[in-house]
Symmetry: D2
Subunit: 369 residues, 4 copies
Amino acid sequence: MAPAGEKKNILKRLDAGEVVIGDGGFVFALEKRGYVKAGPWTPEAAAEHPEAVRQLHREFLRAGSNVMQTFTFYASDDKLENRGQTLSFTGRQINEAACDLAREVANEGDALVAGGVSQTPAYLSGKTEEEVKAIFIKQIDVFVQKNVDFLIAEVWGVTPCHCITAHISVSKCADIVGINCHFDPETCVKTVKLMKEGVEKAGLKAHYMSQPLAFHTPDCGCQGFIDLPEFPFGLEPRILTRMDMHKYAREAYNAGIRYIGGCCGFEPYHIRALAEELEAERGCLPAGSEKHGSWGSGLSLHTKPWVRARARRDYWEKLKPASGRPFCPSMSTPDSWGVTKGHADLMQQKEATSKEQLEALFDKASQGH
Amino acid sequence: MAPAGEKKNILKRLDAGEVVIGDGGFVFALEKRGYVKAGPWTPEAAAEHPEAVRQLHREFLRAGSNVMQTFTFYASDDKLENRGQTLSFTGRQINEAACDLAREVANEGDALVAGGVSQTPAYLSGKTEEEVKAIFIKQIDVFVQKNVDFLIAEVWGVTPCHCITAHISVSKCADIVGINCHFDPETCVKTVKLMKEGVEKAGLKAHYMSQPLAFHTPDCGCQGFIDLPEFPFGLEPRILTRMDMHKYAREAYNAGIRYIGGCCGFEPYHIRALAEELEAERGCLPAGSEKHGSWGSGLSLHTKPWVRARARRDYWEKLKPASGRPFCPSMSTPDSWGVTKGHADLMQQKEATSKEQLEALFDKASQGH
Amino acid sequence: MAPAGEKKNILKRLDAGEVVIGDGGFVFALEKRGYVKAGPWTPEAAAEHPEAVRQLHREFLRAGSNVMQTFTFYASDDKLENRGQTLSFTGRQINEAACDLAREVANEGDALVAGGVSQTPAYLSGKTEEEVKAIFIKQIDVFVQKNVDFLIAEVWGVTPCHCITAHISVSKCADIVGINCHFDPETCVKTVKLMKEGVEKAGLKAHYMSQPLAFHTPDCGCQGFIDLPEFPFGLEPRILTRMDMHKYAREAYNAGIRYIGGCCGFEPYHIRALAEELEAERGCLPAGSEKHGSWGSGLSLHTKPWVRARARRDYWEKLKPASGRPFCPSMSTPDSWGVTKGHADLMQQKEATSKEQLEALFDKASQGH
Amino acid sequence: MAPAGEKKNILKRLDAGEVVIGDGGFVFALEKRGYVKAGPWTPEAAAEHPEAVRQLHREFLRAGSNVMQTFTFYASDDKLENRGQTLSFTGRQINEAACDLAREVANEGDALVAGGVSQTPAYLSGKTEEEVKAIFIKQIDVFVQKNVDFLIAEVWGVTPCHCITAHISVSKCADIVGINCHFDPETCVKTVKLMKEGVEKAGLKAHYMSQPLAFHTPDCGCQGFIDLPEFPFGLEPRILTRMDMHKYAREAYNAGIRYIGGCCGFEPYHIRALAEELEAERGCLPAGSEKHGSWGSGLSLHTKPWVRARARRDYWEKLKPASGRPFCPSMSTPDSWGVTKGHADLMQQKEATSKEQLEALFDKASQGH
């Protein structure tokens, strides 16, 4: 996308009308590859298995990502600790390694490095503002030292639930506003539209971003996909296809969103589909498209004639893909025990939940079903 | 699984009653990662992007695979050629690189290297037996030179369709018999059971293997998943979960199958689930399980109590995962134009199908719908 | 429900806190029985086949209905005419016959007779207020002469669509307010709740009624089920079960609705389920319950033990009934060509749509798909 | 269908190449109308509420039925008794009344009367051949005296389950062979085809009939729809549409079946659809078609243009009707506790199952889920 030579910063790119393609979700992708533990979701792989993290960065770069997000989600020390990890790396070492990996791969292309500032467990556990701030500062300190190009701060809305959990992505004074994770593309684009209306009514200006899930979640409530009974090990049937991604890219673009990326569930081919949909607007195809024919065109080489007959856009646009699961429903009822911030049930624990505590939860769960 | 020191060959392992875990599908996984083109499906990445292929081998090794299959599927020269590739590598160079990568990673653990001998397009195009043999010999020559531990030969059944496309996997005189690709685990296990009955009725002995798809295909006909309208870009809703994999591992084991692996759609976490299900039988967990709690146990560390309540086997066993796609059906009708070996429509072409030829196919397809 | 002797009028019943059970939909039930033509939906059967109409009234009475609605929907002369009927009965004769039948059966029990005043095609065709009024007066004249106990006037909301098509049911000065037809019970109950809030905020008082469809329509837009692609010949998979009806009765009751009935799709057993759910509140079971065990209790007599094991409420409450249609989706996208009152496309025609006109519509339809 | 004047008997009709349209299921239809109790399913309504039974006969006659089956299913005295009925009518009185009603309505048109000889509970309870025979003779005695035109004997296959429960319909020496109830049309037609092949291979000749369910049951096992968890109160989403009936009629006809009728779930409009599909072959439309436009043609009169656009055959043929139930699956797993004839669990009881017995069954059921 960008000309070789000096890299433009994110705002210059957006101000110039460029479409910035984000990257996808590291925790979910690396969990499937064997480097992240579901539950704690901590990013120690950046230090422990750098080759795996580097490879994923590269795949997103090849797929068209203009931004490498550091794999630092949830890497505050308190999180690492209360997740029962006995690691040979500190949170700081992990975050530094993550920054280095992102920078290394970003420099293989023309990508920027974004530091991710995440909500800390301390917040939900009801710690004081001072304590929470201290943890944030520790996180940000590494980013400053490692000279990341910009920050993406995930901040949950103040009110517990507007059926829209407004994550505001901030780059120096919040020049870019958007939605990250928790909902599918359709919901995210709709929500950014509402944000945009609000911003414009207030006479303000901003750039807009969206980084949704790569899972269909028409049935999830205001707290997002975590409450769905399928989270996190039964989400496969909800995974978006590349056709769904083309649709998302187009709708996001039409809604005025110019930072278009993804979050949990996004694999490199999902990002590639975004870049391919916006080929005309961006004036280029990603490197990875050398191994991909947009909209199935590569199938014109297939042995079987009825598969060759699928080498066209309208075939894939009209397809309603079957689940292959006739014994399963198409929607679920989200769990939710009416629990919000400050509630004892959300207090963080240093140790894993005890057997007795778990039994009590299992009982509570079965009553609800 | 195996003790350090000298590696036992595949037959010794099976004769000793060991359960051998295979690996997963390279073409599908690498297509999503950006290194394989859907349609031609050729494996030039082994030479062009060895780091990507090496990483995937490593992930399978970590997940518990005892066998590294060389990424040489479809790498005969005639295939590369008539897929319109203009490559800087010959088929031989690609196959050699693939063997080296498989060996390199196998040696990082205690895995064996298997060479994959694939059906050539020449066969379907109706070439003579002589011609087809010559191509096979070229393939095998590399394996011999690179000293792979054994071969997996994919041979289609002679009759075009018994509703079971019996792939026989041969290791010197076919000591291991089984099913590869094209159908879901349920179908494959059922078919191997039939094979076993047949072999035993004939007074013979063999070891059994299965390497099914990681897609649910209750609706596919006798030619397998290629005919499903979702092949290959809309298969996401059919992807098996890790729970489905536990079930597959158990049923395969109960059916007497001792070489249990996967094919298209299998990601490292699918293989890990097989290894975890058979922990007791194999006497070990794979390295990758350090980042995984079997059956969701890692969720006992989650913030939300209703997610902690999912940290148990029976929750995931009973779950009927929703598709999140209420506008889609749960089964499809396979395409099939009644075309078999020798038919003009299956003749291989050197060039991509022409625009005119494609238009004719598109028309034919729309009439059928 | 009511003691023998003098019948109380509808308001006295509701004022006294009684729960009034309405009846079900005549046009749909009689279409399936062979006496009403889908499309025109005219009620000439009241005069032509009185035994069929009488029998359906009786079945609803047996099922617990406290009200017999006259089968006079759409029976204005202009409607009969422009539906291409060549009948030996006038609209007046049909309406008189319908009143007599409703009265005859009402007197077999303790039910009231309600005259239904329907929207006329003249309204949509854009006739003057005078003309429309004249047609209404003609309709009402019969009801007055035949001395029906009260009227149910179906009046469409003034604005074409609030996503709630507020039908206001009027009994002398609109003492009863509610929703009729077009949406499923869930939507109707929710809407009446909103109405109630509005009425109470305005410091007013009213009784509330609901007469929803017996079809699940989670996917229909603001114009109701007519726009669903399945209307009217493919609605079978959406039919509510008796368990769904129990749920509806309870939710309607909890919402403060005391006139609880049904519309299109309601068969006698649906009404019976309403009456059985509210047995305690109404202090009686309907006559028809002599042939029904609530919540499956009659199954305790079944031959097979696993069917006897279904003779309990929680079995049926938890059941998620399968469609038996794996090739069909669970939701549809409603048709709608953005056409509203006054548009040429909605002008009534005396003759059936011509072949040419139909062809044009078919073309328009296929473009939209 | 048949010319006025002397009625031809069933074999003359079939020998002459006529297509005979059967009627639909009385127990299910009358259960919904309020005259039959699910569980015992006994036909006392013939004596208690003759107007209801007469009306249903008339609707089937209007819909095109050439045969009125007497509503005598399960009316042996032992059945009535052990179903806990305290009736004012004997089995004989009920059967006589049923014969009279069938004859009365048959004579309103040109239909024949068929007596239904049903399997008795005595058989499953393990009574002696003598005892079972005595009950049959009692049933048949009434038919002889009332001079029915022919008998339809439902005889279960000797072996408990061939995955095909072959009911053989006998008319003097079994000239007509076919399938009744328990499976959907697709399964029934397929099975009759197999029967036909068998009969023809044996060098015999016969006429063929099919009377399937009007429910889709792709998921039911060899014992039929009773084992489906939805039986009998949650079958609504499986009800066939009239389009499904057109397809059934055509496939049955193409398979050489000439006695085409229905069983449980068939309503008059289902029978009408059979008669309309075979209009050309039968040379006539049923009386009820005056109130029906085949294939939706009546919709050309609808107010909304997009509904008028549905007035064509191919619209309805292609429609995949949505269930409106996104929380439900499309297939179920049948119950079955491995119980067959003679097993204590199937012994008939005079009294309803006791509370304690039921509790034991409920426990057994919940273990299985």
